[in-house]
Amino acid sequence: MIPGISIYEILTITSILFFIGVYGFITRKNLISILISVELILNASVINFVIINKYLYPDMLQGVLFSLFIIAVAAAETALAVSIIIGLYRQISSVEVKDVETMKY
């Protein structure tokens, strides 16, 4: 644990990061910007896993291992999302959310 820093301060920081990500997810109109916001949200949750593991259960490793898995899934998700964005751009020449309506309804 970090000397002089309580668990409350770190959880405050991660909550702030999480809600900044949610704000970006809702207000942005661009697929790549939405991807960036999702990365912020995922990172905030990963820090929570690691911090709770370190502060509350220092003998265990479950939080660290789960954060490793979350990072791997996030990498796979980003690769797929980027390929979908590139494929979309080839078909409709745009990455704005409002132009993507092929699979609507």
């Binding site: 909550s15 900044i20 990500g21 949610v22 109109k29 370190k54 796979a76």
Partner: protein, 174 residues
């Protein structure tokens, strides 16, 4: 000393996260995200999880950021300004996020955590043996599943990204 480092990292992370979701230039917003991810790696270093910090730096700052920059350069003109949402919608979203943050913080601060004072260092060998152990509490099955998932995601990404060409060839062959 740790307090100063932690507070400066926290300040950098919050400021650059806000800049990243509000900047109207695409490439800058990605670079701001890079600073946030490096700040996260700094927090891992502070709590003594060196392996996780290295993973964060290589996978996120090295891999994902490069991938996003690549896609930005492929689909955008760099000077292009992004569209932004209506002001009323921005304010509504900000208020909703503030309310959610308030609920989170009141819940966190009203809960008593049983913090265990410790200064244990986790070595990479511990993580590796736990990850590959097949006894109770071992993580060998998720480890194998995640490797298959990564392979499937990579193949799927290749297929999706070159989809048009593949179908064109198939049509000719048929």
């Amino acid at each position: 000393m740790e307090r100063i480092i932690f507070y400066s990292i926290a300040l950098i992370m919050v400021v650059f996260a806000i800049a990243s979701v509000t900047s109207r230039k695409m490439l800058r917003s990605v670079i701001y995200l890079l600073f946030v991810l490096c700040g996260v790696a700094g927090i891992y270093f502070l709590i003594d999880y060196n392996f996780l910090a290295a993973i964060q730096l290589t996978v996120y700052a090295g891999g994902i950021i490069v991938l996003i920059i690549f896609s930005v350069l492929l689909v955008h003109h760099i000077e292009m300004q992004l569209e932004i949402a209506k002001l009323s919608r921005q304010i509504l979203t900000a208020v909703a996020c503030m309310v959610g943050l308030g609920i989170f913080l009141t819940t966190i601060y009203s809960h008593e955590f049983n913090v265990v004072e410790n200064s244990r260092t986790t070595t990479t060998a511990d993580i590796g043996s736990k990850l590959l152990s097949y006894e109770a509490g071992g993580f060998i099955l998720p480890f194998e599943v995640i490797s298959v998932l990564l392979l499937a995601a990579m193949i799927g990404a290749i297929i999706i990204a070159k989809g048009a060409k593949l179908t064109g060839k198939n049509d000719k062959a048929l």
